[in-house]
Each structure stands twice: as structure tokens, then as C-alpha cells.
């Protein structure tokens, strides 16, 4: 399973208002507007590199919901998008060992 971590040397600047947030990505100069799920995923990864299972678990606890396919799919889709935006990157477990 892949480990997701913040793209190397990323500096992120956050502004939060209630449950909505804006994020400034220093490396790209882009501002991203995120929903609560997006914020939570990214902040989890910012704190600790994690695999999908770990993320699902933490997010489920945070939002007080059950881990089902729907949640997994939503998190996976967010991760893919974050990967494209260069916010996060994935690494195979064995890459890390090597």
C-alpha cells in the first residue's frame, strides 16, 4: 500500500474561517479552497505520513462516521487531486525500506 506524505519541501499557509479554509501553496503560488474533508486529509498528512487505511481511520474518527466504500472513494479521489496539484506525493512501502 502507498504511503502518502506532503510533497517535499512544501510550505503551506492556512487561513481558516469556520469549517471552510483557504490554503496557499508557497511552491506553486496557488491558492486552494478546500472543504472540511480536504482540510482534514491534508492536515493529517501534514502532521504524519500515512497510508489510506490510517487516513480513513483518523478521518472516520474525526467526522464520527463509519469507514465504508463511499468514504474510501472520497478520500482516494481527494488524494489523487492533491497529487496532481503537487500538494502530496505517494511512495510505495518497499521504496521506503529500500
Amino acid at each position: 500500500m502507498h504511503i502518502w506524505h506532503l510533497n517535499s519541501n512544501q510550505s503551506l499557509r492556512w487561513k481558516h474561517w469556520g469549517d471552510q479554509s483557504a490554503l496557499y501553496q508557497v511552491a506553486s503560488g496557488e491558492t486552494h479552497f478546500l472543504n472540511p474533508l480536504g482540510v482534514s486529509i491534508l492536515m493529517q498528512i501534514e502532521a504524519n505520513s500515512s497510508n489510506l487505511d490510517q487516513l480513513c481511520e483518523r478521518i472516520a474518527t474525526e467526522f464520527d462516521c463509519s469507514i465504508d466504500d463511499d468514504l474510501r472513494n472520497q478520500i482516494t479521489a481527494s488524494l489523487m487531486r492533491f497529487d496532481e496539484l503537487g500538494l502530496v506525493q505517494r511512495q510505495r512501502n518497499d521504496d521506503l525500506v529500500a
Binding site: K15, W17, A22, V26, T31
Partner: protein
Amino acid sequence: MNVSDLTLLELRQRLTTVGLCFGCGPFRIRLRTPVAPIAELLHDLYAHYPVYSELGIDDYRVKLDWASWSRRWIRPIVRFTADGPAPFTDVPVLRALPTLEWGTNWCIATRAHHFLMLHAAVVERNGCGLILPALPGHGKSTLCAALTHSNWRLFSDEFGLVRPEDAMLIPLPRLISLKNQSIDVIRAFAPSAHLSPSFYGTHKGTVAHVRPPLNSIVRMNEPVKPSLIIFPRWQSGALLNLESIPKDRAFMLLATNAFNYEVLGELAFNAVAKIVQNCDSYSLVYSDLTQAVQAIDELAHNAHD
């Protein structure tokens, strides 16, 4: 010395030689033109701007020239330049003034990246800085002109100039540009408003310019802290409707509607965040200008308390 202290002859002489060097907000603009008919208009509409005679550094050097000598007498056309190749198509001399205003705005928008330039009108009253961002056609200039003639001080009808270091609003009291039916609306709302003649057939339709009141030019070096953001939208026959806008949405609307948000990067991110933090934001749908001004006055009064 202001432009009105020059005689028309003196103004013409400057325009055709060294240029009319005048101050508008933080900028020093030098305008040269041999196009005689425009001098009279400028004498009237630029009357309150201070004339700079001392040596200094010009921020913008703009020029309006005859575009073609062969067409000097028959349907003459003029060309706008700013120390470089002409950025726009030549226009008939009858539309010289709107082109000059538009061209100068273009210079500011393409170069003044030491400021964050919101695409918004800005006015001030009793220390309350009000930002009116809007898409074209939403009636921001009309509302701005109305407020300017209802005891508000004009900062700008087009550029919400923000100093990125401290997110203060900087005045840039250029002529207010009114389009189509707004022209008569403002004539009716504020008989004291000083309007230019109407210019027909510009790429924005009929255009007329409002001269900034003397007070807004005298005080053009006094910035203000932003306190209120209102997103106005004029809608025929609509009842006045004022709704609060959450801060994240206000942030997004301000940032995506700015001229150079991307260019300023993190500076802009922090400045916009600071603005929405300090401001209450509303959307305002209106059809009656008097009601709209009244509603805004009340909001400003409460915001300041």
C-alpha cells in the same frame, strides 16, 4: 497648483510640449497630446488634480497622438501609447477621452504590481473603508458615483488599490466611468455631479465620465482601513436585498476578481485574508439607488460602532 489654475492656453501649451504632469493618488502621470479638442475636456474634468512642476520620476507617460496624417482632416483617428508600441486599436477623435482614460487604467493595471489591485470600487466615510467588488454590468460604478455624491469620499471606481504590507486602501481618484443608462440615472440622482459629455459607440456603448469631487482629490493621500465589503448587483425592479456573506466566500470572490492576485502570491494571500478578517461582507441586490445608498449608510454606521 491645480489644473484649474492653468488657463486653457497654458494647459494646451503643456500638453503639446513637456506634457501635463499631474498627480492621481500615489501616481505621477505625464500626459502629452497634440490633439487639440481634448484639452478643453481635460481642463474641465481634470480641474482638481494637482499639477507637478518640480523634477521627478513619472510613473506613467501616456500619449495621445494623431494616428495618421493623411486622415488628419477627414474622419481623424487617434492612437494611445505609453512609452512603447500602441496597445490598442486607433479610435476616432471623438472617442479620444474614453480611450485616454481606458489606456491609463490599462497602464496602471499592467504595471502597478507593488500594490494589490482589486477589481472594485472603493469609497470612504467617517473612517469606514467600503469595498464594492463587482463584475462588469453589476452597477458598481453607478453605486460608486451615487455614494461619492452622498457624503462618501471617492477612492476609485475601478481599482481597489491595497498596500500589501498592511492591507490599507489607497485612494486613486480617477474619473468615474458611467455606461449607457447609468448616465441618466446619476444625472437624476445627483444633479450636482459634474459629468462629461456622452461618448457614443465606444466598445462599451455610450460612456460618460464623472469628475471626482474636489474633496476626494485634496485628500487623495489619506489611506483608510477596509471595514466593509459589499458585492452589489443592480437588477431591474428588484426589492432591496442585503445578505451576509461568509468570510471564506468573500475571500474567494475578492481574490478571483483581483487584477494581480496571482502576481503578488503570498503577499496577496495575506492581504486579502486580513481584509476579509477586518470586514463584514454582504451581497446587495437593488433597483433603487436611494434605497441602496441608505442601506449602505446604515451598515457603515453600524460597522464603525
